[in-house]
Symmetry: D2
Subunit: 338 residues, 4 copies
């Protein structure tokens, strides 16, 4: 049984999730190296995960002949050049979303992927691997709702984490780039078509700090797609009940709605507040299993030579749409997407 | 358009519900008389409902040739003789449940009904007329769940009204007679068979006053039926979330469950408590529409000569089962029901 | 007990609902006259409802000194002049929505209402009287969700009735005027602010007949409001599961969502399809009780001199927004609303 | 990082689940040996899981000094002697439920556990480790529902697997021993008290083969507990919608209900059947994560010297209650439990 030898770059909150999955939860791979500019993260990799080789310099790690694949969980602005460097060094690459922070970067990553058609590249749109989303996709492919023509997506971060969002507001690229990229990917994936036009708006009612930073607390966008389909997105940062990701796909013969109640588990409390479902508190809690399933998919794709469902072009297209949405929101105008 | 002329006996909380429905909500009947031993209730009938004839003496009212039908909403122990008197006076009769407070009384009512086959008699098992219950019955008759073989019934009064229940505990006949009669009727109705054996138990964890009064706060009973089917009943008095009536009918091809969440309406609150449904607060709130629908059915049965779905024998049988359940609970033994 | 004497104009499907409520379900009013250009409707009023006076000519009816109030359930294009004629004849007026089919008509009705400040005028935005919507409004007023800043509204007619919609498509004024007016009213009501801008789009995937008639099967619109709040509307005509009206109000401290599952009743079927809620089939089924409650409100307002919650200006404003939405949809442009 | 070296006995369906979790999903343990009387199972262990040492003879495996702990997933009747042999050989032991097939066997296992107080013994009541059940327990300990006094448990196998159940019916020990043991454990766990009395009954409406084998298709039992609390259990084998495990804990201040809708995932289908949740199909699907979490707990208990929450006595007591329930069901009598 050949195991895929992986080096990880970035061991922040999400990096640790990936590192633990690779090291401990997926049989046919091993975590053999870790790279970070934070010494504490490298120490974590060594002590907690038993990783033998640690690197402060990314270029050093991708040169290591012991490594078959690189998993990139660094700051968004570093993704594209790291993707390129790893591919050019002959490594398979898994990169967290977003692909890049602008379309030029994405194009650079695209070129690198095209230069290395034999290497596997996969982008971390992990929602596609969530059991409920994968089930919805399968049902749709089986014809359960006819032709899908409208996606309604909601993504709201918990009020509990709003302080961090406020601190980050100036550098987030705005609410649509920061929060809408998964919803944009899901719209494209479920509709099987490309967005051609977007109109967007935002509001700030609770934390004026967002407005002051040129951002908004809540954003709403609508999209037209090439095949005539439509999309509605609502993103926000202040859900008092937890982390709320909900998606509805409307088709000619039915609708599938995922997670209208963002339930923490299957228990319901009957008490003075009525009948209540406690909600998931954060994205790692909601998508814990998806992070594992997507990495299993990556490892399996590399080992079997299959192509992952998420391509580099999905990354570029989502980024392009994210920018168009941001422009629509900032200018108050309808923006065409080519 | 001939209208059914009705006299009502008893204008307490539930009596007022019936009186208002008759006077104001049902086109083909009129409330022409009211009888009560409480002067305030008669004043209410005159002033609020415009009833012209009021009686302190029930016998007087049933002699009134202006009246076609009598609706009995008096104390349970008075039902049977009042049914008999009205029928013998040539009036159609609707009586609130329970039919009587012992089987002997019920037999007396049965005899009166049998003496007057041309008069309509209907017993107020209003749950059968609730939209959800009537829908379940219809679905079952259409074969939606195959052969029903198990009914699981829950009926819990709100903690908000527990003081009244405590005051009434000494004279309630015990929790199963007081609260279980609707569930017993529903089991018989949905299973289409008669109970032959019961075992029951009770507990008191919150209000020792019930135990002190020889009653219990919560009761649990299981039943065997003639055709091999089974029943489970859970009754209680202390739901902190409201009034909880839930019924599940299990069949060979499916299950129907009614009101697992005893929702007040279709709104859901997403807030710090999670996602919550506020619950109905009381039986008049939960069954408001059922009281109207059952009275419409009574009026229609009288005017068209149809027989109501609920017969006098349903009353006797439920009472008999209620007594057997009470005996099982009090003695700790399995009790046969003939 | 003085009863309000009402004459009704129009006895189509919805007219019959109102007529029956007035004649049979509301104690402090009577249906004394009916007006229709269809003889069968007048016969219905006489035979089924016992209405004594019937009119083919609306002007005749409003002259009748026996009538205190007029209820208008005629074709939308007739509403405004009928409102004016009735008010000028000294009658209180209840009119079905929409107020008028263009803003000029609405202004005419406004002027009539202003000429007669002592007469009651109420517009039939019955959703406001639905128990779940009224509950949501009350909760919001109590502060349950803080400041509301986003309304997400969905209204989809059942596929079962699509043939009628197709036949009517050429004359419906388009999907937003035909179907969005209630959602527009609800947005204004819940947000307590006026829409200033709209962008809209539509699609037709199942029945090309809509497109051929210049209409669409599904419409999506987004709104900006004066106070910075936002609105999203999704209307459609082809729900395979029934009649789907859902509304979500998002606030700074919570969200209220009404009818995410457009359940027919409280029964759930556990069978080969999973656990299923059957859905309501049509708007009269969904809003049966609301039609009664709004008419009770009208009668009570007249008798007590209270002002109804829905004013003539609500009608004009919703119509204006409906037209702006239609313009946005037809032109593909952002439309300002003044 | 010391890893716990585990040998597994039994590699049937559930054995494979455990073996894969140990081999691949839990970082601080290794699967070093496997024992089975089925050569194909040993081949699976070698080829799929890379297990080096395989044994046909259980006694041989427990003598292996390389092994720290034994996981027993064999036929129920072998559990107790295998527990004893492993403990006496100085190994920590995890055994699948039930502890034994009669109380005598259980006592033998108890004695072995008592002889080796320094060794960890844990019984596989995996529901306790399910996220929803663990959440419920934690909430109850925090006082969320006051004092729990009634547990209502439902466990129904899918009709899809009924053929296997029919074949196994003669040797299953009857429906309550076969299916009720988890529910019995949960009642004891949530109520924190011991059952003192049971009454039970069964029925067979769909597959007469169960009755012919001396078994039943559906069973219902009620329990009294030492502290006055009560329990209701409903077990069955013919759910057309999937695998249905539901548990409700009723307390003085509230109720927690787990999995009233045994949903497969968070997607809902809106189609011609209404709004539907597809259901989980089997216990491995429902409790996939619980099997992993309980094994992590076992490994952690061994490595840290903590005592597991589930003791050998929990096994004996549940078995005793299972037998008493079976006696009550077979004899039709109330059975005391000491």
């Amino acid at each position: 049984m050949k195991k895929l030898r992986i080096g990880i770059a970035g061991l922040g909150r999400l990096g640790k999730v990936h590192a633990n999955n690779i090291a401990n939860k997926i049989p046919n791979c091993e975590l053999v190296a870790a790279c970070s500019i934070m010494p504490a993260e490298l120490e974590y990799a060594q002590k907690e995960l038993g990783v033998e080789k640690v690197y402060a310099d990314y270029h050093e790690m991708v040169k290591d002949p012991d490594i078959d694949a690189v998993v990139i969980v660094t700051t968004s602005s570093e993704h594209c050049w790291q993707i390129e460097a790893a591919l050019d060094a002959g490594k398979h690459v898994f990169s967290e979303k977003p692909l890049g922070v602008n379309v030029e970067q994405c194009k650079q990553a695209e070129a690198a992927v095209e230069r290395h058609p034999d290497l596997t590249f996969m982008l971390g749109f992990m929602r596609r691997y969530d059991k409920s989303y994968a089930y919805a996709k399968k049902k749709i492919e089986e014809g359960a709702i006819g032709t899908p023509y409208l996606v309604k997506a909601t993504g709201i971060d918990p009020e509990a984490f709003v302080e961090g969002a406020i601190r980050f507001a100036k550098n987030s690229g705005g609410i649509f780039l920061d929060m809408g990229i998964h919803d944009i990917d899901l719209m494209r994936w479920f509709l099987g078509s490309e967005a051609t036009e977007v109109y967007a708006m935002g509001s700030t009612f609770k934390h004026p700090e967002f407005k002051e930073a040129g951002d908004d607390e809540t954003g709403v966008a609508v999209y037209k797609f090439e095949n005539g389909a439509m999309g509605m997105v609502h993103v926000g940062r202040t859900a008092p009940y937890g982390y709320h990701v909900e998606t509805e796909i409307v088709g000619t013969e039915g609708t599938i709605r995922i997670s209208a109640v963002p339930e923490k588990n299957q228990a319901r409390l009957y008490n003075g507040n009525g009948v209540c479902a406690e909600c998931v508190g954060s994205f790692p809690e909601r998508f814990e299993e998806s992070y594992l399933l997507e990495m299993e998919e990556f490892v399996d794709c590399v080992l079997t030579g299959r192509k992952p469902g998420v391509s580099v072009y999905d990354g570029t297209k989502s980024t392009r749409i994210g920018y168009a949405t941001t422009e629509a929101w900032k200018t108050g105008k309808i923006v065409k997407i080519n």
